[in-house]
Amino acid sequence: MKPYPLSIRPYGLRAVLVEWPSTVDEAILEDILCFYRYLKTKCLKDTGWEMIPAYNSLTLVQNYKLVDFKNFSAKLKKWYAEKSGTIPEQRYLWRLPVCYDLDFGIDLELASEKLRLSVPEIIEQHTAHVYRVYGIGFLPGFMYLGGLPESLEITRKETPRLKVAKGAVGLAGKQTGIYPQESPGGWNIIGNCPVSIFNAKEDHPCLVSVGDQIQFYSISRAEYDLHKIEGEVGIYKIEKLKIDA
């Protein structure tokens, strides 16, 4: 893969921001994740550095000391040049159940009007596409998903709701996603996912990593209630498929 022109800049006194060209692009994400893995396994193991990949950037934070930027950025350039051939970690496609019942999909009818699609058509399109996780942030376990079809692009609600339910599945602009916890929010809510990809009680609290893929599938209200209970007692296993590199 051809190396990208990187921008490497200090971000305060304890962090460094590495940026790729500013577009949403799977090839760029791939390159970021290769570099991330190379740094994590070969260069910055147990050194107090924490890394946050998102869309077109990789932020490196030093948790314990100030950073000698000049010296460190030179090393980063060298490591980036060396990393070719590194493959990203194994990625997975996660299949997440969503109940699109109107009790949960409180904006489905409004969305249907605005998008000029019937409710079944919205569900059909939302579940037919596979979404890429470009970042995790905003809230613990909140995934920034890319790959929403244009036909489902809908503007955010003018007045955000003070409370959006945990598990709510929403549409906003070019994005779709799940609220991992109850929070205020302005997305159009079309369903609810009864199981959580994030659990702070686990050593690995978040099943999904940046670079993974998500696909939703439609479930009935009865299945929702069942999966909800299974999730709460910890016996629901979210379906995952290996993605070939």
């Binding site: 962090a15 921001l17 946050i52 869309y55 470009y134 995790i136 905003f138 994030f198």
Partner: protein
């Protein structure tokens, strides 16, 4: 055990923070005023990551059940031990039945109560810091109890120190943020040439400033944010992210507070005035 007879406005357990999970959206958390936190543990010769109580604005009342030693740092809140006034930044001996009571806020906003060998609450993802959706509770409630290990004897190397109340300072030292270069002259003049005040939207997640600067229509892809990052909203509002702040964001990051500046800001409350000074890169 330490019993909370009264929990106060907002009292939570905090250590240095929760590191290593920002790529999953988990905020760092930890003591808002790191200087006060470090000094408290240092006086008790504790581990630098030992958990303390962060007490915000108004006072709780505690009852101790075992012998130990404590230190109070940060904001002054007219604290009494069995009805006698006690000083901050001083090692205090505690015996069973002692009542520690916080009164009126005198200066600052956040006070720290450190105990010999730290509070022993459950760790979640390597940290005891309480924060929403990670720990079971976000703050301590009335009549809750917190475990500590008793300590009968301790001869501190430094029993007491005098500190300059750094939180009276109004100048926050900042470095350039990643999107600093987008600022136009009129925005720069306002950012570095005027005072800002803390709005009522201030908490452990973020401090929003009341005064605005000229807005912008720059859009950017979501990218990492840090405690101390100053975001500029399209409407020209400045938001300073704090310890429980989100780990990513889509607003331009124009400034980055130093760790000491975060400590100073953590001691500010509604209406308090601050200004920014750019430090050499």
């Amino acid at each position: 055990m330490l019993k909370l007879l009264k929990s106060g406005f907002y009292t939570s357990v905090q250590d240095r923070g929760r590191f290593g999970y920002r790529d999953k959206g988990v905020p760092v958390s930890g003591a808002m005023d790191n200087q006060a936190f470090e000094t408290a543990n240092a006086l008790l010769e504790n581990d630098e990551n030992d958990a303390v109580l962060e007490i915000t604005m108004t006072g709780p009342t505690f009852e101790f059940e075992k012998n130990t030693f404590i230190v109070l740092t940060g904001a002054s809140m007219s604290v009494t031990l069995n009805n006698s006034p006690v000083d901050n930044y001083k090692v205090l001996k505690i015996v069973p039945g002692d009542i520690l009571s916080y009164g009126r806020l005198e200066n600052g906003f956040r006070s720290y109560l450190a105990i010999k060998n730290g509070f022993k609450t459950e760790k979640v993802l390597g940290s005891r810091s309480q924060t929403k959706s990670i720990t079971d509770s976000t703050y301590l409630r009335d009549r809750s109890t917190i475990r500590y290990e008793p300590c009968d004897t301790f001869v501190p190397k430094i029993p007491e120190i005098k500190i300059n109340p750094y939180f009276d300072k109004e100048i926050l030292e900042v470095a350039k943020g990643p999107e600093f270069e987008m600022l136009e002259n009129r925005q720069l003049e306002k950012v570095f040439g005027s005072n800002f005040s803390v709005s009522k939207e201030n908490n452990r997640m973020a401090y929003q400033l009341k005064e605005t600067i000229a807005g912008h229509n720059r859009s950017m892809l979501t990218s990492a944010t840090l405690p101390g990052t100053v975001q500029l909203t399209p409407a020209g509002k400045l938001i300073v992210l704090m310890k429980d702040g989100q780990t990513t964001g889509g607003y331009p990051r124009i400034l980055q507070l130093t760790e000491d500046a975060i400590s100073i800001l953590a001691q500010k409350k509604l209406g308090d005035v601050i200004s920014f000074r750019l430090i050499a890169p």
